[in-house]
């Protein structure tokens, strides 16, 4: 079966549900104290991993669309991309509000001094640019610059995995797997890059 624009609202509704379910689960876990009496670290990690997982799923979308000739899927990328931004925003909000407890001077100090925070913040800056230029009208006005700008999502993906790898206290297996996954997803695109830009410009 091939998805058409007719199916698009249903696809989008499904992706909204998939993206929101983990947030509902987190709320449930925190409210029932299923994740301990002090879930600060859990919430920060959960939302951070949520952003990364969503980003990788989004990057998986165009190879899948191409392989199975499901071009309609590509029209859900903005929706998914905005959820990446949403999770990343929750991640930072949790860090600032729950861990630093709004101690802004400490935040600025940490940003200046800690490389893994700088790397994460660079990724967030890129995601912000992409989110703010995601409107259709803006996309049309930016012309070919839009695609150029939005290709920086690959840079953001690499920065996020490096940020993850750098932030853990020990246990580098999981962040290492994420780095490999990201590189694999990027490698999928390299040879076919030209064809893709031609087709979906």
């Amino acid at each position: 079966m091939r998805f058409t624009t007719k199916h698009l609202p249903w696809l989008k509704a499904l992706f909204h549900l998939i993206a929101l379910a983990p947030i509902a689960r987190l709320l449930f876990q925190v409210l029932t104290e299923a994740v301990g009496g002090e879930p600060v670290e859990y919430i920060i990690h959960y939302t951070g991993i949520g952003a990364l997982n969503t980003l990788l799923l989004m990057l998986l979308l165009s190879p899948i669309a191409k392989r199975f000739k499901q071009g309609t899927l590509l029209q859900t990328r903005r929706l998914i991309g905005l959820y990446v931004y949403c999770y990343a925003t929750l991640h930072i909000a949790a860090y600032v509000s729950l861990d630093l407890l709004f101690e802004w001077s400490l935040l600025f100090e940490e940003i200046i001094k800690r490389p893994y925070i700088i790397v994460g913040l660079c990724a967030y800056f890129i995601l912000s640019l992409l989110a703010f230029t995601s409107f259709s009208a803006l996309k049309r006005r930016m012309g070919k610059h839009w695609q150029k700008l939005h290709n920086s999502v690959y840079l953001a993906a690499i920065l996020i995995t490096v940020h993850f790898y750098w932030s853990v206290k020990s246990e580098i297996i999981e962040p290492s797997i994420y780095i490999l996954l990201t590189l694999a997803l990027l490698a999928l695109r390299l040879p076919k890059r030209r064809a893709q830009t031609n087709r979906y410009k």
Binding site: Q29, A34, I49
Partner: protein, 343 residues
């Protein structure tokens, strides 16, 4: 709980525990509700889109188990080590733990340690001692009269708690074995039992630490009056996630020095290896004294998030004190040491 007054003093001090903090029934109920919630959490685990364990969560097989049973202890309150600071509630003390033997996330220990067997237990004290001794499980509570001390616990991750521990001084324990004059250091070792401690079986769960977990102190540190062997918390025997049946508490050092579930204490004439130092020597030193002036390479140690009563936003950021506020007792130990290079 048993409260004995210090001879000649018949007041009710401000730091004395409220009944609702310690009654076994409340403790029991709290733990029931945690376990119940864990059961619910396990149902949701299959839905995981981005959980703590992330991509591994899909393979999780968490099963709710009966909570570990703790027993009330008989002890005196030591008024020299009380605290006017608000204590961290029992529920948080037993559900927010670093104990990588049971997993690296904060809730892993309470989730994975409830079936932990503490009986039989053997604690060996050997090395440069006059008479090596082996304590059995019952000896831990009988050999030395128990007292309660309320200490601040400062984690190297920049959060802290205030916790009433039950136990005895490390010095009183070492004196039972008799310390030889050439002993300079004390080495500690956690139980190695991969069948019971999943983190020791799996590198991923255990955070890459080379088990068994080991720690160490200098003799002067070990004999300092603050160094404490804890067999209980909040008047009850220790739950496994807090280091049952016996653990060290060195409150002027980062929490990872306070080694849990100890099976061996060895007096030695050289500085023993310590687990976190072995894993990342540029981040964790042998001394690991709480020091706001020396940042961890990846985060500041100048302040800490104090975990107290109340919800998520009720925690406070407070300034971290040198030696976690115990400078009066321990600063003299380090007067000839550069604490910036010997972090």
């Amino acid at each position: 709980m048993t409260n004995k007054f210090t001879k000649g003093i018949a007041t009710t001090p401000s730091w004395q525990l409220k009944d609702n903090q310690v009654t076994p029934q409340a403790v029991f109920n709290q733990r029931r509700s945690i376990i119940k919630a864990l059961g619910l959490g396990a149902l949701g685990a299959g839905l995981s889109g981005g959980a703590q364990a992330g991509i591994f969560d899909l393979f999780g097989d968490k099963k709710p188990v009966m909570p570990f049973t703790t027993e009330p202890l008989t002890f005196n309150i030591n008024p020299n080590f009380s605290s006017i600071e608000a204590k961290t509630p029992y529920k948080k003390v037993i559900s927010h733990n670093n104990f990588y033997e049971f997993g690296t996330s904060k809730q892993d220990p309470v989730n994975n340690a409830q079936a932990f067997q503490v009986q039989p237990w053997q604690l060996v004290i050997d090395g440069l001692v006059d008479k090596p001794i082996t304590l059995d499980f019952d000896d831990l509570y009988k050999l030395i009269a128990l007292e309660e001390r309320t200490y601040r616990l400062r984690c190297v991750e920049a959060w802290s708690m205030v916790i009433p521990w039950t136990g005895f001084s490390l010095a009183s324990l070492l004196q039972k074995a008799g310390i030889k004059s050439n002993a300079t250091h004390v080495a500690f070792e956690t139980l190695y039992d991969p069948k019971q401690m999943p983190g020791q079986k799996s590198r991923r769960l255990g955070g890459g630490i080379n088990y068994p977990y080991v720690e160490g102190l200098t003799i002067a540190e070990a004999m300092n009056e603050l160094s404490f062997m804890s067999v209980g918390v909040y008047g009850q025997t220790l739950p496994p996630q807090n280091g049952a049946p016996i653990r060290l508490i060195v409150p002027w050092k980062y929490g990872f020095k306070s080694i849990k579930s100890i099976v061996r204490i060895t007096l030695t004439d050289r500085q023993p290896p310590t687990s976190w130092n072995q894993l990342a020597p540029n981040e964790y030193g042998f001394y690991a004294n709480v020091n706001p002036a020396v940042a961890h390479p990846r985060w500041s140690q100048a302040s800490e998030r104090r975990i107290g009563e109340g919800g998520l936003f009720s925690a406070k950021r407070i300034a971290t004190k040198p030696f976690n506020g115990y400078g009066e007792q321990v600063a003299s130990l380090y007067k000839d040491l550069n604490l910036t290079t010997h972090f």
